[in-house]
C-alpha cells in the first residue's frame, strides 16, 4: 500500500473526534453496597478484586496453582499482579500459547488433587480448549461414575464487549457452554459479586468457567469486603423488586437493564431486575416465580440472539409460566452477526434504548 504520509495525517485528524466519542461506555456502572456483616472493606476495582480473591486462595490452599499465558508478570489485565512474587514461581507460572494444553494441564492437575486455576487470556480464545472442556472436563466424573473427577478445576477468562475489541476481543461465548452438562458457567456483574462468585467456583467440586467482564476491570469500583466470603452458585439475585415486568441479564448488561428500569420508572412502569449470575445450572425457580408475579419477561444479553442463553430461558419460562404471561417473552440481544464489528459497535449493542423500546411494546401488548 503506497499511501503518502501527508495524506495519512489528514485522514487521522477527521477521525480523532470520532475516537473521542468512542471512549464513552455504553452503560452506567451501578455501584452496590457491601454486606455490612462482612467487615472492613477497601475500594477496589474488578481486576484488583480478582487479584484479591486469587491471593486469598493461594494463601489458604497450599495445593492451589494459577497458570496461563503471561500470568507470571501479572497478566495482560493485571489480575495476577504480585501473586508470583508473594507465593512463588511454582504456584503462579506461565504456560505456552496453547489453550488446549492450558485446560488439559488443568484437568490433569485437578484429577491429581490440585486446586487448578487456569486463565484463558480472552474468552475469544477458549475454542482450542473446547474439546478438552466438553469431551474431557465436563464428562470426567460421569464417564468414570465418580471414580475420577476434575472438580477442582476453575477456568477464568476475560469476557464481553470492551468498546473496541472487534471480533476477537469481545465475544461472550456462554451459550456455547450452556449446552454442556457437567460444567458450571458463572458471570459476575461487579467487583463485590465477582469475589464471592469466584471463590465459590474455586471451592465448588465441579469444573467451573468464570467469565470476567473485561470492560469492568477498571471501571467497576466498589467497597469490597477484605475477608473471604462466598456467594452461592445457581442462585439468581433480585436486585430490585417490581410488579409490571421482569428484566433478566448477566455481566455488564445488568447495568444496562438497571438503567432501563430507572428510565421506565419515570413512566410509572415497575421493573423487577434480576441478575442471573450462574448461567449453568441456572436458577429456574427465581426467574419463574418472578414472571408468575409480573407476567412479562425481557431477557437481554450481548451475545447474538439465535441460540443464546436467552432462548433457553424463554423456552423454559414460556412452558412453566404460560398462563401467567401477559405478553410474549422478549429478548433484546446482539444481532446474528459476529460480535462485535469494530466501528459498528454502537449499532450492534442491545442498548438501553432498544431495551426501552421493547419494554414499552410489552406493556402495550
Amino acid at each position: 500500500m503506497n499511501l503518502p504520509i501527508h495524506r495519512l495525517i489528514t485522514t487521522v485528524s477527521t477521525c480523532s473526534s470520532f475516537f473521542l466519542r468512542r471512549r464513552l461506555a455504553h452503560f452506567t456502572f451501578f455501584k452496590d453496597k457491601p454486606d455490612p456483616s462482612h467487615g472492613p472493606t477497601k475500594e477496589m476495582n474488578l481486576c484488583q478484586t480478582i487479584q484479591n480473591a486469587l491471593g486469598i486462595t493461594l494463601g489458604n490452599d497450599h495445593t492451589a496453582i494459577i497458570f496461563g499465558e503471561d500470568v507470571a508478570f501479572g497478566g495482560v489485565f493485571r489480575c495476577t499482579a504480585d501473586l508470583r512474587s508473594k507465593y512463588g514461581a511454582d504456584r503462579v507460572f506461565n504456560t505456552p500459547l496453547c489453550e488446549q494444553g492450558i485446560v488439559a494441564f488443568g484437568i490433569g492437575a485437578a484429577v491429581a488433587g490440585t486446586t487448578a486455576i487456569a486463565e484463558i487470556q480472552f474468552a475469544d480464545y477458549i475454542f482450542p480448549a473446547y474439546d478438552q472442556i466438553v469431551n474431557e472436563a465436563a464428562k470426567y466424573r460421569y464417564r468414570s461414575q465418580n471414580l475420577f473427577n476434575c472438580g477442582r478445576l476453575t477456568i477464568r477468562a476475560p469476557w464481553g464487549a470492551v468498546g473496541h475489541g472487534a471480533l476477537y476481543h469481545s465475544q461472550s461465548p456462554e451459550a456455547q457452554f450452556l449446552h454442556t452438562p457437567g460444567i458450571k458457567v458463572v458471570i459476575p456483574r461487579s467487583a463485590i459479586q465477582a469475589k464471592g462468585l469466584l471463590l465459590s467456583c474455586i471451592k465448588d467440586d465441579n469444573p467451573c468457567i468464570f467469565f470476567e467482564p473485561k470492560i469492568l476491570y477498571r471501571s467497576a469500583k466498589e467497597d469490597v469486603p477484605l475477608k473471604e466470603y462466598t456467594i452461592p452458585l445457581s442462585k439468581a439475585e433480585i436486585i430490585s423488586e417490581g410488579s409490571d415486568v421482569t428484566l433478566v441479564s448477566w455481566g455488564t448488561q445488568v447495568h444496562v437493564i438497571r438503567e432501563v428500569a430507572q428510565m421506565a420508572a419515570k413512566d410509572n412502569i415497575s421493573c423487577e431486575v434480576i441478575d442471573l449470575r450462574t448461567i449453568l445450572p441456572w436458577d429456574i425457580d427465581t426467574i419463574c416465580q418472578s414472571v408468575s408475579k409480573t407476567g412479562r419477561l425481557l431477557i437481554s444479553h450481548e451475545a447474538p440472539i439465535t441460540g443464546g442463553v436467552g432462548a433457553e430461558i424463554a423456552a423454559t419460562v414460556s412452558k412453566e409460566c404460560f398462563l401467567n404471561l401477559e405478553a410474549p417473552i422478549e429478548r433484546v440481544c446482539g444481532y446474528d452477526i459476529h460480535p462485535i464489528p469494530h466501528v459498528f459497535e454502537p449499532f450492534y449493542f442491545p442498548s438501553k434504548w432498544r431495551c426501552l423500546e421493547v419494554l414499552k411494546r410489552m406493556l402495550n401488548f
Binding site: S13, S16, S17, I107, Q132, Q145, I284
Partner: protein
C-alpha cells in the same frame, strides 16, 4: 482545533520514526521505485550480518546464505531401539534387563491372558452378546512393559488400546468383562462403551474414546522434563469390531510381519532359551487361561445393569434440581409405559 493539531503532530512523528526503522531493516530491491516511504512493497532479505541483532537470546541457530528446503525424504529416520530380536535373543548383552524368572513369567502370562480375553470377547461381540470390542493384538508388550517400569501408584492416563496396563496391575477378569457388558458392577456402571475401563485402586484413569486428549493431562503430573517414548508396534487386529482392516491394508503383510515380530512369540522364545518356560507349561497355561476367562464370562453375563436412575448421577458432584426434575419425569414416563422398556435387564431403583 488545537487538540486536533497536536494529535496530528504526534502521528507525524510516529510515522517518521517508523520510516527510519523500516529503511534500516529493508532495502528496496528495485531502486527505480517511487519515493514512497512505506514498508512492505518491495522487501529483500538483509545481507549477512553476523551480529545477531534481530534475534533474542533463545534462538540459537546460525545464519546461512544458502536457501535450502528441508525435505523429509532426505532426513535420516530416527532409529528404533530394540532389545529382543525376532529369534528371542538379546543382541546387546549389556542391555539385558534385570528380570527374574518370576518377573518374566508374570509378564508373559499377562500378555497371553490378555490375548485369550481379547479372542473370547471379540467372538462374543460377533455373537451379539456384547455391543462392541477392541483387541490389543500386537501391542501387548508396550502395555506390560510400561506398567512394569512404573510404580503401582503412578497415575496412568491410558487410551482405548492399553488394557494390558490394567492386566499387569491386577484388574480382575470379571472387571474387564463386566465393563464390556455394561452391567451394574462395571467400573463406569454401563455409561460408556466396552473397553472404557478405569480403576482408582490401580491408579488407572478411566479411558475416554478420544485420542491423545489424555497426553497434556498427564503432563500436569511431571515436575521434571517430560519424556516422550514412541513405542513402534504393529496393530495386528482390526481397529475394532466395527472395522475390517482389509479395506485399507494387506492382511497377508500383517500376518507375515506378525509371524516374525509378535511380541508374545519373541518373549516365549527368549524364555525357552533361558530355560524358565517350555512347551508343556505353555500348553497347560493356554488351557488354564481359556478356562479362567470362560468362567468369568459366564458369571458376568448374568449380572443385571445398574438402575435407570444411574444415568442422571455424577453429572455434577450433587444432583442439581433440574436433573432431579428430569429424572422424575423419565421415571414417571417409564412407569406409565413399562412394556416399552426392557426393565428386567436393570436393577430396581432404590428411590
Amino acid at each position: 482545533m488545537f487538540r486536533v493539531y497536536s494529535n496530528t503532530r504526534v502521528i507525524y512523528g510516529l510515522c517518521r520514526a517508523l520510516n527510519n526503522q523500516i529503511s534500516k531493516r529493508y532495502q528496496s530491491s528495485s531502486s527505480s521505485s517511487s519515493t514512497t516511504t512505506t514498508a512492505a512493497a518491495n522487501v529483500a532479505l538483509e545481507p549477512n550480518v553476523s551480529k545477531m541483532s534481530m534475534f533474542s537470546g533463545h534462538i540459537k541457530g546460525a545464519i546461512t546464505n544458502n536457501l535450502e528446503f528441508i525435505r523429509p525424504e532426505n532426513i535420516t529416520p530416527i532409529s528404533m531401539y530394540q532389545v529382543l530380536d525376532s529369534d528371542g535373543s538379546i543382541k546387546e548383552k549389556s542391555h539385558t534387563p534385570n528380570f527374574t524368572d518370576e518377573d518374566l513369567i508374570k509378564m508373559y502370562k499377562d500378555m497371553t491372558l490378555l490375548n485369550v480375553l481379547d479372542r473370547i470377547l471379540y467372538e462374543s461381540q460377533r455373537q451379539g452378546r456384547i455391543s462392541f470390542y477392541m483387541t490389543n493384538f500386537g501391542e501387548e508388550a508396550t502395555h506390560i512393559g510400561s506398567a512394569a517400569a512404573l510404580n503401582a501408584k503412578d497415575l496412568v492416563y491410558g487410551q482405548y488400546r492399553e488394557a494390558g496396563v490394567l492386566m499387569y496391575r491386577g484388574f480382575k477378569l470379571h472387571e474387564f468383562i463386566d465393563q464390556c457388558f455394561g452391567n451394574a458392577r462395571s467400573s463406569c456402571k454401563g455409561v460408556q462403551m466396552p473397553v472404557h475401563y478405569g480403576s482408582t485402586d490401580l491408579s488407572f484413569v478411566t479411558i475416554s474414546s478420544t485420542l491423545a486428549t489424555q497426553m497434556p493431562q498427564a503432563v500436569a503430573l511431571n515436575e521434571m522434563r517430560p519424556v516422550l517414548i514412541e513405542a513402534m508396534t504393529l496393530r495386528v487386529g482390526h481397529h475394532s469390531t466395527s472395522d475390517d482392516s482389509s479395506a485399507y491394508r494387506s492382511i497377508d503383510e500383517v500376518r507375515s510381519r506378525d509371524k516374525r515380530d509378535n511380541p508374545s512369540l519373541r518373549v516365549r522364545k527368549y524364555m525357552y532359551n533361558r530355560g524358565c518356560w517350555n512347551e508343556e507349561k505353555d500348553e497347560q497355561w493356554t488351557k488354564d487361561s481359556q478356562k479362567m476367562v470362560m468362567e468369568a464370562f459366564a458369571n458376568c453375563e448374568k449380572t443385571k445393569r445398574a438402575p435407570i436412575s444411574t444415568m442422571f448421577e455424577n453429572i455434577y458432584d450433587k444432583m442439581e434440581p433440574h436433573l432431579q426434575r428430569q429424572m422424575k419425569e423419565m421415571k414417571e414416563h417409564v412407569r406409565q409405559n413399562h412394556d416399552h422398556f426392557p426393565l428386567s435387564l436393570y436393577e430396581q431403583s432404590s428411590t
